[in-house]
Symmetry: C2
Subunit: 430 residues, 2 copies
């Protein structure tokens, strides 16, 4: 039998896993500093739970790409497709949660879709959300959190902010019929990619008049500063919903100023997740990288949880989803992730294997990540082993060293050797 | 529609998730101190991969309890049943791994079996293993690691050690036919539970002679010290395989002495996983707890990886699996896990909501896990909120406080209030 992975899945070697864990630990740490607590839901859900969310036309692809299974009792189940639906179910089932709730959730999600480079059937999502706060401070918290994450990763980045209500206001003001909004907005979203000319062309093919096209593009083309873009839109906007959207963006930018966040750019042409977002939407990009995919994206979804539980009461919610896979690719591109193994020190016993264990024990107790030549192979093979795993230091332990309490520590990168007591070794490495 | 979890699965609230993470972080930390690096494999595997392992009769239950699924291309897949099979596949597929390899692997495993208290269809395993080392130092490393984990958890515990070869030697010396060994050993394993009398009764029913029963029980009844148990068995044992097993136990105990590990008890009646273990076997228990399940168990499986890849070459391996669910129950029982939320400080703005964000920002930058009254609800509701989530401190921020740069910090447990500068607040909390 030829051993293979299931299609679209990956193993992570220590090198890759250490890199992933570094990113995940950083995400967790920043979330916790921002007052977000972790929750966890199962890998699989009842099929009905996932289907309840995905009945609208736009989302039926999601159901096709959902892995289905059943248990021995013939109950229909499905692997989670994202973290949002399980989270909505969680909120709906735990009515005694004291609001607002700030949580983060991380884990594997599964999509039975076509495989491309960078596209897998199992991948990791990391989603902080604020539930139970209608005020824009919640959106500002999410954006400030994202800002902190990218700063801590030491990446150059920007976060685009828009509001679905602004797009709707511009549609209404231009006299576009509501049924055509989403089609028109899909074209507008391409503004950065294909420019005004390309978008005009698309909108012409969608039977918009020249006047309508001009009106839309005049409104949604970004100005040189957030303030100028906002002022222009405020002077043009007639729609009440549109005005509401502008006020929300203003509020967010005001809060962000107090938070000292400067990376957020108001981008009136940004459109995403219009089927479920209800207000602010945002998307983060890394600068100076070959990787063009967004590194995080999110928005406010005040209706989703209520709809989902079949309640008329809105449960306001806003969140962001970090693209863990994208972040890892970016960090790899910048050579920021390069540990091959966790060990900091490799002990090589010379003729005193048993006694060297005491030294290993002491180093470990003092917090040094220590491995030793388990096969007792001697110096040259051990050096090769340590070097192939990029273990930064090796320590030689012989009879004489044990007697004197001084050991030769070799820095594997510089080749430099020093004689040190055990405490000296610990100090050197830590 | 009534929302429910899939049968046998659980959500983890922040309180529970924080507790689980504490245990997992501790396990990771100890593994890394001992030179074990993390790897990860996918949640689902090709069905054939799991089936290849589980063809032997004894394991067919495992196939029945394996969740099966398929992708849109009709490929047969399965959720992983344990971490050992995916790990074996990983080793087999990565022939360039430099041996020995010390890895740990954690993750969810899935069993479509009956539900009981404490028994779920998705649960977490945590498995460190050493691959590529035939010497008993690898087994000693695994046991020393387990010892360190329980010590770090500050639990009273002991680890039972035996060797499959000893059991086989005793069987052979007592003239039991090889085909009856596993049945006899299953009875012997109950020695602690039902005593010599109970086991004798069972063995009588399995058609063993009184002489055979006496011989077996004389050999396998533990003495008062490891040395006495070993000496007795050494004087009785005729079987070569049995002698080999005794030598292996002696070696392990010698290494453990150098490692300063005192928690390992030689228990000649211990039997576990006899279908795949080939030498030392071990099982760890927590003392002074209502929870009787073992908290970790493992052994040496020199044949599994080779068999699995259809190779005649042994790939020596030894590992242990920590029962994450059991450890969590034990820690809960001892009230060691009681954080309800990550936040250390809750900021309550008094009439200066916007300006208070600067304070929040500064505290976060200084590493304090800070949340704030997002709903701007005022003092009494905010205090209730902080108290219901057991946030240890609240900070009041009003106009006057901002002017003076001194803030009232309230310890929510003692009720004590102090006026402090922001740096003072940070120092107090950290």
């Amino acid at each position: 039998m030829k051993l293979k992975l299931a299609k679209g899945t990956r193993d992570f070697s220590p090198e890759e896993k250490i890199a992933r864990d570094e990113i995940l630990v950083l995400l967790r740490e920043v979330c916790e500093i921002y007052g977000f607590s972790p929750i966890e839901t199962p890998i699989f859900e009842r099929y009905e739970t996932l289907a309840a969310k995905f009945t609208a036309g736009e989302e039926s692809d999601a159901m096709k790409e959902t892995f289905k299974l059943s248990d021995q009792g013939k109950r229909k189940l499905a692997l989670r497709y994202d973290l949002t639906v399980p989270f909505s179910r969680y909120v709906a089932m735990n009515k005694d949660i004291k609001m607002p709730m700030k949580k983060y959730m991380e884990g594997e999600v599964f999509r039975d879709g076509p495989i491309k480079i960078g596209r897998y059937r199992q991948f990791t999502q990391f989603d902080p959300d604020v539930v139970g706060c209608k005020g824009m401070i919640a959106d500002a918290e999410i954006l400030a959190l994202a800002d902190a994450v990218f700063k801590k990763l030491d990446l150059k980045f920007y976060i685009e902010l828009n509001n679905k209500k602004i797009l709707e206001g511009v549609m209404a003001d231009a006299g576009i019929k509501e049924k055509d909004w989403s089609s028109v907005i899909i074209s507008i979203d391409k503004l950065k990619k294909i420019g005004s000319k390309g978008v005009s062309e698309e909108l012409r093919n969608k039977d918009l008049s020249e006047k309508q096209i001009k009106k839309i593009l005049d409104a949604l083309n970004k100005e040189s500063t957030n303030k100028k873009s906002l002022d222009k839109l405020k002077s043009l906007m007639k729609s009440e919903v549109g005005k509401e959207g502008l006020k929300e963006v203003e509020d967010i930018l005001k809060y962000l100023k107090n938070f000292g966040v400067k990376s957020v750019v108001f981008e009136p042409s940004l459109a995403r997740g219009l089927a479920y977002y209800t207000g602010p939407i945002f998307e983060a990009y890394v600068k100076d990288s070959k990787i063009r995919s967004s590194a995080a994206g999110g928005g406010r979804y005040d209706k989703m949880i209520g709809d989902f539980i079949g309640s008329k009461n809105e449960v306001p919610a806003v969140g962001i989803s970090f693209g863990v896979e994208v972040l890892i690719e970016v960090m790899k591109e910048k050579n920021r992730l390069e540990k091959k193994i966790v060990s900091e020190l490799y002990v090589i016993p010379i003729g005193v294997f048993d006694k060297s264990l005491k030294i290993v024990k002491e180093l470990r107790e003092k917090g040094v990540k220590t491995d030793l030549d388990l096969l007792n192979r001697g110096i040259s093979k051990s050096m090769k082993y340590a070097s192939s795993y990029k273990i930064p230091y090796v320590l030689f332990v012989g009879e004489d060293e044990l007697k004197k309490g001084k050991f030769k520590l070799k820095n594997m990168q510089t080749g430099k050797e020093v004689m040190l007591s055990l405490d000296g070794v610990v100090k050197k490495i830590k």
